[in-house]
């Protein structure tokens, strides 16, 4: 039996192990990494699309007092929708509960920090969750019933059947009976349910005409004939006919629409929420479209790099292969037949690489989680379907990688192939290979450059003067557990040696809290809504704000209850020329101005802020100094127990708050760095293969040159010169493109770095250094060998 192309390829692998290993390794890394990114992008891009009729589902958010928009909306909106909106088939309201504990036995240890979704009877008519066991009651959850997600059920009950069992929820140990368990899915959703409880009737309440509230997440499913535009028209009518009249305002509808009292709605199609919604109180942090696009592009690049490696290494060896092909042609093989053999070989190769990739995929996912702390594709493992995709993907890669060699290698005239073999490794082919190598280095250089810029921007955001001092500042957020004893607790805190200062306040910078007030100077025709910080007299000191003019609040001055301190932006926004001493809202007096401080986002410019004097607050900001933070916290918690009734303190560090603001950039930087490293690895592998080949081909030449007096250094330069030239060309092409792209990315930031010449040089140096060291390391042995050996073997 004649060996098939597969056995032939296998023998080829065994005969040239170094080449084959590089080729196989490169292809496997490429397949694994780009497949991971493919799955990641697919999962991100199809977020929420797994729900049946997702294009008919939307969320209605609201805004009032120009507060910036809320993901939840009015609790009684659902009733209006059900009563009169013809476009809506189902309207459901969802409440996201606080973090709480769950027990499986009353006396048992509790599972903590679980968030429940409180749902009404039509929730599952809108959101089609597949059921794993039990049955979702048609009429919705009755009081005392609950539905769990699969993961939670497994956590609580292991392999036992959870249906019919009881869980005890929250401090009160409220019992709920499990009626159904829903399948956990690989698909991503902006909803992140753990456990469903029935929505209490009190959550909706009676319609009281107060449209300035947002407590429930209102989702609708349109009728098959319904449209988003129809829903929008209905909402417009609702505003004009219902909301505007109840506002009791004496202005016209047009005036009302332009005033802060105006109530607005946003319709968000379900599939848009994950990437495009950035409202207050989102149910889960949204996706980062830039990151998905960038990683998707990197995935494409990685597989291109791997294919190029394969093509380069196969065609580089064409002088070896052309002999074989020439002989076969002489004996009657047709070009089609030989081309097919080449294709089969590359398919075989890609299948081998796929085998390796299966292992590598796990490795890459694990390494990614290890390096960034966040899993790339969520907690779920890959499904059998994914492996089917992987097979198809690998075969497509194999086809693509095989096409050029199949065309190029089989084009030799047999006569040329059999005679004068060494002469004709083909100038044209060399040129194609150079272009491909340049492309590889371009990708690597562009990615290195981009990750430098992203990292620098992240660093910049971290280190930028925020206008306040975050170091050693923490907030204690559950003062509500202390009731009237807050003041006593504060005294205890202040007695601690490490505590520098404390402040009672309603809001900390870079947190989720929202406090808004409207302000109007005599010169203004219309009031302006400005984020406000109700704080006491120690706030400026505790948070290290800089007072630029005027004075701080004084707790002994009764008149200060009506005092305001503005930041510089607020002074500008309100159009005040001599802010200190001016009057706002008729009776409120500006007593000081602080330097702008960062409180919400690194992307946007710092906006106007007003500090309002307040002697009460829901949180205590504490500035501490010195080390042993954990010991301090333990001590603090021990002392706090008697005030909180046993509850642990909820503590946030200001540093963490700010880190969260820059988290997307941090993740983006880490993700791109991780895959950039893989891209460099791939390009390096390709370079190693080509260098090995070059050395093999030029051994005789190197020997002759040495006999004629060349030294090691000259030989190194001889071999590395070509590659370094390619690397430099690649960098020169890649930098303008990535510079342009990165500048577009940076445009989103109000405070951004300037990409200087240094970055170009650094990125260029990295690429050239890599190329140079790879080539030199490989060449040095050949360059140092005694030429007698290389000449004798010829």
């Amino acid at each position: 039996m004649h060996p098939s192309s597969f056995t032939f390829a296998w023998r080829n692998i065994r005969k040239y192990p170094a080449f084959s290993l590089i080729n196989l390794g490169g292809l496997a890394i490429g397949i694994a990494a780009s497949f991971v990114l493919l799955v990641y992008s697919q999962r991100e891009m199809s977020c929420d699309r797994q729900f049946r009729d997702h294009d008919r589902i939307a969320r209605i958010g609201t805004d009032f007092f120009n507060m910036g928009g809320f993901a939840p909306s009015q609790p009684f909106l659902r009733e209006f929708l059900r009563a009169s909106c013809k476009d809506v088939q189902y309207a459901t309201a969802l409440m996201s509960g606080d973090l709480m504990s769950v027990r499986t036995q009353q006396q048992d240890r509790a599972y903590t920090a679980i968030r429940a979704y409180y749902i009404d009877s039509v929730f599952f008519k809108v959101f089609s969750y597949p059921v794993a066991s039990g049955a979702v009651p048609q009429a919705g959850l009755a009081p005392g019933q609950t539905i769990l997600m699969e993961d939670e059920a497994r956590k609580f009950f292991g392999s036992q059947d959870p249906i019919g069992r009881t869980i005890y929820v929250a401090k009160e140990n409220q019992p709920y009976q499990i009626v159904a368990v829903l399948k956990s899915s690989f698909q991503k959703s902006h909803l992140d349910p753990r456990l469903f409880l029935p929505l209490p009737a009190t959550a909706i309440g009676k319609f009281d005409g107060n449209w300035s509230s947002a407590s429930l997440y209102n989702y609708v499913k349109l009728t098959p004939q319904g449209s988003m535009a129809g829903l929008q028209r209905w909402l417009d009518r609702l505003r004009e006919k219902v909301i505007y009249p109840t506002s009791g305002a004496i202005m016209s509808f047009a005036q009302w629409q332009a005033s802060p009292k105006n109530v607005k709605f946003t319709i968000q199609p379900l599939a848009d929420i994950y990437f495009h919604s950035n409202l207050n109180f989102e149910l889960s942090p949204g996706g980062n479209l830039t990151q998905v696009k960038l990683l998707g592009a990197i995935g494409l690049f990685l597989i291109l790099l791997a294919i190029i490696n394969y093509v380069n290494l196969v065609t580089a060896r064409s002088s070896v292969r052309s002999r074989e092909i020439g002989i076969k042609k002489t004996f009657g093989a047709s070009r089609v037949r030989l081309g097919r053999q080449m294709l089969l070989e590359s398919l075989f190769f890609s299948l081998l690489a796929m085998g390796l990739a299966v292992v590598l995929i796990r490795g890459i996912l694990f390494a990614y989680k290890w390096a960034t702390g966040i899993p790339l594709t969520g907690p779920m493992s890959l499904t059998p379907m994914h492996y089917l995709w992987l097979l198809v993907f690998s075969l497509v890669v194999g086809m693509l990688a095989g096409v050029y060699p199949a065309i190029y290698l089989t084009a030799f005239k047999p006569i040329l192939s059999i005679r004068s073999l060494a002469m004709q490794s083909g100038k044209g082919n060399g040129r194609v290979r150079n272009v491909l190598v340049i492309f590889q280095f371009m990708v690597a250089a562009g990615l290195v450059f981009s990750s430098f810029v992203i990292y620098a921007q992240w660093q910049f955001m971290q280190n930028k003067d925020k206008g306040l001092s975050t170091q050693g500042v923490l907030t204690i957020n559950n003062l509500y557990t202390m009731g009237k004893r807050t003041a006593a607790f504060r005294q205890v805190v202040e007695q601690q040696a490490q505590v520098v200062s404390t402040s009672l306040c309603e809001r900390a910078p870079a947190s989720n809290d929202i406090v808004m007030y409207t302000y109007k100077t005599p010169a203004m025709s219309r009031p302006m809504t400005i984020p406000s910080f109700p704080v006491d007299a120690r706030y400026i000191q505790t948070l290290g704000l800089h007072l630029t003019s005027g004075r701080n609040f004084d707790k002994d001055l009764v008149s200060d209850t009506n005092s305001l301190i503005l930041n510089e932006s607020a002074v500008a926004a309100l159009g005040l020329f001599n802010p200190v001493g001016s009057t706002i809202n008729g009776s409120e007096r500006v007593i000081g101005v602080v330097k702008d401080f960062n409180y919400a986002s690194f992307r946007q410019k710092i906006g106007p802020v007003v500090l309002r004097y307040s002697q009460t607050g829901c949180m205590l900001a504490v500035k501490i100094s010195g080390g042993h933070v954990n010991a301090f916290l333990d001590q603090l918690n021990a002392k706090a127990k008697e005030f909180t009734g046993g509850e642990p303190l909820e503590i946030n560090w200001l540093d963490d708050n700010f880190a969260k603001l820059a988290e997307k950039e941090k993740l983006l930087g880490e993700a791109i760095t991780f895959f950039t490293a893989l891209a460099i690895l791939l390009a390096t592998l390709g370079l190693i293969g080509l260098t090995l080949f070059t050395i093999e081909r030029r051994t005789r030449e190197i020997g002759i040159r040495k006999v004629l007096g060349a030294n090691v250094d000259q030989i190194l330069r001889l071999v590395s010169r070509d590659f370094i030239r390619l690397a430099v060309i690649a960098a020169l092409v890649a930098f303008p493109i990535s510079w342009w792209l990165m500048n577009r990315w940076l445009e989103d930031f109000a405070y951004r770095i300037h990409v200087g010449v240094g970055t170009f040089f650094l990125a260029g140096a990295v690429i050239v250094m890599i190329a140079w060291s790879v080539v030199s390391l490989l060449t040095i042995r050949a360059a140092m060998a005694n030429p007698i050996h290389s000449l004798r073997t010829e």
Binding site: H2, I327, G332
Partner: protein, 225 residues
């Protein structure tokens, strides 16, 4: 069997134009054993490439079994080649990655011969060449003489009407060389036409007729039989 007239082949580079074959004319009859001789660069190899349908001439006529093949395209040439012509090279040109058996089997695969028949035909020819015991060896495990025997086996396995041999003994010592020449002679006696390019006067004596070439032209023809 072969009738070439005014055959021309010119190699052009940017500076030089080399005339490899200059209006070459001769016939080869079926069953003949012809040796082509001449100094390096006289056009022997070019001639062999054209006769073997590996290359096409720039002018003149080439009748193969009465068919004009001078301007056949590659596909047609390949088809004619695999059915009618076997090759033996000075450097053997065996494929290193294939065993002896597989190397010899190659032409039959390209002819579309079915597996069992292939096996039988390859074994027959290997037996005839007395290298059956090496059937599972790779070329580099064989001596030069053995490699050339494999190459001859490969050349004859599809029963070609014509064998083109390009200095078949050039890389062999005299005893191995004689053996190969004897093989060719035997094949010729069984009816195969052989055209052999050689530098060796000794080898040329195995043939019926010697064509001597110089600068792309025939100089003399000696008839030995």
């Amino acid at each position: 069997m072969i009738k070439i007239s005014d055959l021309q082949k010119v190699y052009r580079t940017e500076e030089v134009e080399t005339i490899a074959l200059n209006k070459l004319t001769f016939d080869v009859k079926e069953g003949e054993f012809v040796a082509v001789m001449g100094p390096s660069g006289c056009g022997k190899s070019t001639l062999l490439n054209i006769l073997g349908l590996l290359d096409d001439p720039d002018g003149g006529s080439f009748l193969f079994n009465g068919t004009e093949v001078a301007h056949f395209n590659e596909r047609k040439r390949a088809d004619l080649r695999k059915r009618n012509i076997g090759f033996v090279f000075q450097s053997f040109n065996l494929i290193d990655e294939l065993t002896v058996f597989e190397n010899v089997e190659l032409p039959l695969i390209y002819l579309g011969v079915k597996g069992p028949e292939r096996k039988q035909r390859v074994e027959t020819v290997l037996d005839k060449m007395q290298i059956m015991h090496r059937r599972n060896h790779y070329p580099q495990q064989l001596s030069g003489g053995q490699q050339q025997r494999v190459a001859v086996a490969r050349a004859v396995v599809n029963n070609p009407k014509l064998i083109l041999a390009d200095e078949p003994t050039g890389n062999l010592d005299s005893s191995n060389g004689n053996e190969v020449m004897q093989l060719l002679t035997d094949l010729n006696e069984q009816g195969t036409t052989i055209i052999m390019v050689t530098h060796s006067e000794h080898d040329s004596r195995y043939s019926h007729r010697i064509i001597r070439m110089l600068d792309g032209q025939t100089v003399t023809e000696n008839i030995l039989v």
